[in-house]
């Protein structure tokens, strides 16, 4: 409201061209917030059948039955959470390690080359990860990685079962590669925002580089690095097309990493196009709404951590 009254004030008193320009620019910048609102409103309306049919218990109902036309979101929420969690456990430390290498160790030349490769890794389309993951990587896992794991840890239930190519294990590993550049690039920006003084003071006390990094840099950048990891989680949760290849599209409560599963985004992509029933379609739209709310909250938290870190370097 204040923007509008400000506009009229400017329009009357100052240069009317300025006021018009500012208003037009403001209108363009409102496209994004309006889109977010549209997502919430449209998906809420479109999922009406599902909401009326299944109510709030949709969230924790594990049924997924086409013959009875009863759908619950628990299996796909579970699949999303497990694959994202495994992916971030693998990609988080490695991503922060890359960021540490780029900011603390690498020369500017190496930095720019590795930085470029990390950017390319981020730019590889989801579909390419998908066919690589299914036709190459999963086969490699089946032949070389899974047998030794099952030989050593086969007595643990989560490693039991017959490895088919598309499994929770494959999906989590592919996801971890896909979110690695996000974690690495954002952590690098955050670590770069730590003031040089902080490092120099620690080095002047006679610390080694690792002591400098672990005691003076990392504690300072803690919030931002956590934010970078959260952004990785958000990306993993929304990842779609690659998972249609490597996850298996099985709406079940899997108990082993070597079983097939299904995630929210993957279920929408795999089932929406072929869905003939309104109930299924509406359920998938409700899952889409849930997915958007979930990633929205995670992104808001992550961005809050990252921006508070890089905008106020003199906070502590």
């Amino acid at each position: 409201m204040s923007a509008i009254s400000e506009f009229f004030k400017k329009f009357r008193r100052g240069n009317s061209g300025d006021a018009v320009f500012q208003l037009v620019a403001l209108v363009f910048s409102l496209v994004m917030p309006v889109t977010i609102l549209a997502i919430f409103i449209v998906l809420w309306q479109e999922s009406e059948i599902s909401r009326q049919e299944f109510g709030i218990s949709f969230l924790w109902d594990k049924t997924w039955s086409n013959s009875d036309q009863v759908f619950g979101a628990l299996t796909v929420i579970y699949g999303t959470l497990v694959t994202s969690a495994v992916a971030i456990l693998l990609a988080g430390p490695v991503g922060v390690g890359i960021a540490a290498f780029l900011t603390e160790i690498a020369s500017p030349r190496v930095n720019s080359v590795v930085g470029f490769f990390v950017e390319i890794l981020a730019a590889v389309p989801s579909i390419v990860y998908g066919i690589w993951g299914f036709f190459v990587f999963a086969v490699f896992l089946r032949d070389w990685i899974v047998p030794p794991i099952q030989f050593l840890f086969g007595w643990i239930p989560v490693f039991q079962g017959n490895f088919t190519l598309s499994t929770i294990f494959t999906a989590s590993l592919v996801l971890s590669v896909m979110i690695l550049p996000t974690v690495a690039a954002i952590s690098r920006d955050v670590l770069n925002a730590v003031p040089r003084d902080q490092r120099e003071a620690m080095l002047a006390l006679g610390s080694t580089r690792w002591e400098m990094f672990s005691m003076a840099v990392l504690p300072y950048a803690r919030g931002g690095v956590l934010g970078a990891i959260l952004l990785g989680v958000g990306r993993a949760m929304g990842e779609t097309i690659a998972l249609t290849y490597v996850l298996g599209n099985a709406q079940v409560l899997f108990t082993s990493f070597f079983q097939q599963g299904s995630s929210m985004a993957q279920a929408i992509a795999s089932l929406f196009g072929a869905s003939t029933s309104n109930v299924l379609r509406s359920s998938l739209l409700e899952i889409g709404l849930l997915l958007f709310v979930l990633t929205f909250l995670i992104n808001v938290g992550a961005r809050f951590l990252v921006t508070s870190m890089s905008n106020q370097p003199s906070r502590r």
Binding site: F21, A38, A122, P125, W132, I241, L291
Partner: protein, 289 residues
Amino acid sequence: MSNVTQSNPRPAGNYRHRKLTNNIMTGLAYFCTLLALIPLAAIILETVIKGLPAWDAEFFTGLPSTYGSGGGIKNAVVGSAIILGIAVLMAIPTGVISGVYLAEYGDNRLGNGLRFVADVMTGAPSIVIGILGYAVFVVATGHSAGIFGSIALAILMVPVITRATEEIVRLVPGDLREASLALGIPRWKTIIRIVVPTAISGIVTGVILATARAAGETAPLLFTVGTSNYMNYNPFEGQMMTLPLAVYEQSSYRGEVLQTAWGGALLLLVVIVALNLIARLAFRSRGIR
């Protein structure tokens, strides 16, 4: 500074031990970086090995087929170009103008809110944008069309362009603005004639990177554009083939059809790496978001 004094439980002595830890950790950092480059090398290598044999005359001039020699991807290339072109035309003005707004007028609560929204939107799952497009356009009109896919892609591109533009416009020295304003030129003219041309190379970089990201997106097109085995030049009517969806379709078959899918994936990879290289040459790249 408090952190430095707080967390130092180790005694300063035993230098050998400390040095060893330092070396191990440095080694780990190198290892992490190598670990990330292995899958990248594997993906590029495998895609080239499996995709290059598919690149024959038929691949570039034929239409997709689900049997025999696997057909070509001509309609997918044309479809991708049309859909992406329209998306870029929609995303550039919206993204650049919002970026300029944030940089020039955005130092207040409204600006912070809009900036936050743009940041959050860069992480929005593309499949959600896809089903939004379906629910809004396809349900309303009753048919798929390329233009709906363009709109979905534009929604994904705008926040990237906005933030890139804002960052670069902020780097334009204040002296330039002041010199122009001191000559009595109104602010809007200063922005259009002085600030934006100064920042243009950075803006172009942001646009190219956003385009590269959109070029490989599959999920937003899945339900808005669909797939087609025929040529369709009309973005306002009927299904169209796009490169990512051609790969998606063809990869569910075996033999030479699957090879065509790998060929399409290679083409996609080449286009995206080329766009990233161009962006880097156009302007020293400042990383991805």
